[in-house]
Symmetry: C2
């Protein structure tokens, strides 16, 4: 899907030992940057993307030809001001936008990996992206931030590299995937695997694509991104066009055609196997596991300043789970602020133009930056 598009990537030649036991090296990490790194190299912000996100934060995404997923937040004079900051965003490994993933060709076999690709974890993703600091010769990032799976990467990054970011902003996330989170992801995976064209993950070698299964997976996930009240306000029982019920299985209600549309556009930009791998990484995420459930210990050595943000109507990663992060940080006396933003837009709020959220981001970032001792 990303043929003929110039995707910028760094080839990482330092071997990376994965959690599954395998070691990878000489693999691509696709990334984009926005703004300029200053002389002091103290203005770099690393943004981590969510499950279906990518490195194309701002401006026109060359794949979808639409605005990048955080265009309203990242840019000149925006909440994350590219006149001031150097913003980096990389496609996660196991993704499908240029970083090493299941749609790459295995040079040993000359076949596309598919499900022979190793299972990747959030820890692996973050360790791969840490190479960007060496590449840009950045001693310490000003900030790491991200929403949803991006927030999980923020937490993992600070845990792995306690002195590599001045501030960290995990948004609408969790320190450990809940049973319900795993259930919804498993639903998506089963939907893809139920597609006859999935072919045990080998579809790309056989010129097939499990579009139907991937589309249903996307529909399922999409419902979890929106709040019940938000859906009711936006769609309610509104019918398509004029007229009454059609007494058929065509899309009668606007919510039906909306979901079908979300499914159908998704398959044009995303790889089904990447969807399997990335949801697996999310399900495996449990930052406190190594510390026998004591999340505080994951942050013990950190000097990073935290801003944790949640949204009132987010039922996927609700405020209560974001607060667990705050509690764990408070327990070790970390510098942590917490804001719950009022929004009826559900989990998706972090991707939307929610003014209170963007103002909070902007003020916290600028304030923190002004306090850097030079």
């Amino acid at each position: 899907m990303n043929k003929n598009i110039n995707i910028k990537s760094l080839i990482i030649d330092k071997p990376l030992k994965l959690d599954c036991g395998q070691t990878i090296d000489n693999f691509p990490l696709a990334y984009e940057t926005y703004g300029s790194l200053n002389k002091e190299k103290d203005n770099a912000i690393l943004v981590f993307h969510a499950l279906t996100g990518d490195q194309f934060l701002s401006g026109i995404n060359p794949i979808t030809k639409k605005e990048g997923w955080w265009s309203h937040a990242v840019g000149s004079n925006k909440a994350i001001d590219t006149e001031k900051y150097f913003v980096i965003c990389a496609n996660v490994i196991s993704g499908c936008l240029g970083s090493f993933g299941p749609s790459n060709t295995n040079t040993d076999t000359n076949k596309i990996y598919g499900t022979t690709f190793p299972i990747i974890t959030i820890n692996d993703m973050v360790n791969a992206q840490h190479n960007l600091l060496d590449y840009f010769k950045i001693e310490k990032l000003f900030a790491v931030m991200g929403g949803s799976m991006g927030g999980m990467q923020v937490l993992q990054f600070v845990s792995n590299f306690p002195d590599k970011a001045r501030i960290a902003i995990p948004i609408a996330c969790t320190s450990s995937h809940s049973a319900q989170n795993i259930a919804f992801n498993e639903l998506g995976r089963q939907s893809i695997m139920a597609d006859n064209n999935w072919l045990n993950g080998d579809y790309a070698n056989q010129n097939k694509n499990p579009d139907k299964g991937l589309s249903v997976a996307r529909m399922a996930a999409h419902i979890t991104y929106l709040s019940k009240n938000g859906l009711q306000e936006k769609f309610g029982r509104k019918l398509q066009e004029r007229g009454d019920l059609k007494f058929s299985f065509d899309a009668d209600f606007q919510i039906e055609s909306y979901l079908r549309y979300q499914g159908s556009v998704f398959v044009d930009r995303f790889d089904a196997n990447s969807y399997l791998y990335i949801t697996r990484a999310m399900d495996y995420f449990d930052l406190s596991k190594k510390y026998n459930g004591n999340l505080s210990k994951a942050f013990e050595k950190t000097k990073t300043k935290f801003l944790v943000i949640s949204f009132t109507s987010d039922w996927l990663y609700p405020t209560s789970e974001n607060k667990e992060i705050v509690i764990a940080l408070n327990a070790i006396g970390a510098d942590v602020a917490f804001v719950e933003i009022e929004s009826d837009k559900g989990h998706d709020s972090f991707l939307l133009d929610v003014p209170e959220f963007l103002n909070t981001l902007k003020n916290y970032i600028n304030n923190s930056y002004s306090k850097i001792s030079r």
Copy 2:
């Protein structure tokens, strides 16, 4: 699937005009009864089943060989005491347990209907079941009750037949399917339709079965039946058997194998097209539509006494939606009681052995029955 099993059914010869405009007649309505109708014929309770329920309320279900779905609630000396009451339950039309549905053969074409079967509504289901009163020569039912889609039928029954039931107990339901409800049902339908074996609904004529799609649909629905906290308590991040993560797409977590199991056993007892039709009926349900949104008007003529029951952790048909029914009934001065039962078991609570719920049912039923003037 129900071959060689003796399913009791009434052949309805009175033509039934459906909401879609078609008229059906000479069609079967499968039913079961428990207990005995007394001489006064004043002890009959009509129970309506939910989406995937059936007429086999109590005792061993001849299809699944497992206990009926309300065995713990209906029986001798149970909450609904079959020593005292005559309990009737019918399979809804468009179902797959003996009532007229898409798996029946169209005698005009000698082919199984599939999706050529007419779209059925909750109103149609209830009107079909009203024939049971004539059949048993019951002037007035003592009670109508049911949970989830069963509750919708309770509301529709009282609205259609305001003098045919002394008491009505709608449980964990809504007077109108919300956008989120429709979204989850559409997800299930799209999952079935995405299965190559669905064959535009003609699978039964071609000896195929869209098992994979139906299984994924069931998984999706199942998640909505349980509460986030309930899932967390029961499954959390518990792994299968001993050992650690497998770094594969096999079921690592217990919640994954549980969902896969739920999907796989469901396809043995349920017809995919029936699933499409019944979810469609639920989505079309909006009792106040005829009255321009004024739900009270749907109950204007009723003398029926109501007990509305909701469960604290039910996010599919939350307490707020059950309360809307109470408010509408109060607005016309109806006799209505409301109980919100504390339970962490989510929407499924109405199907489970929740003592406070069963005691409430029992006391309300017995109290109401003792007050019948004879």
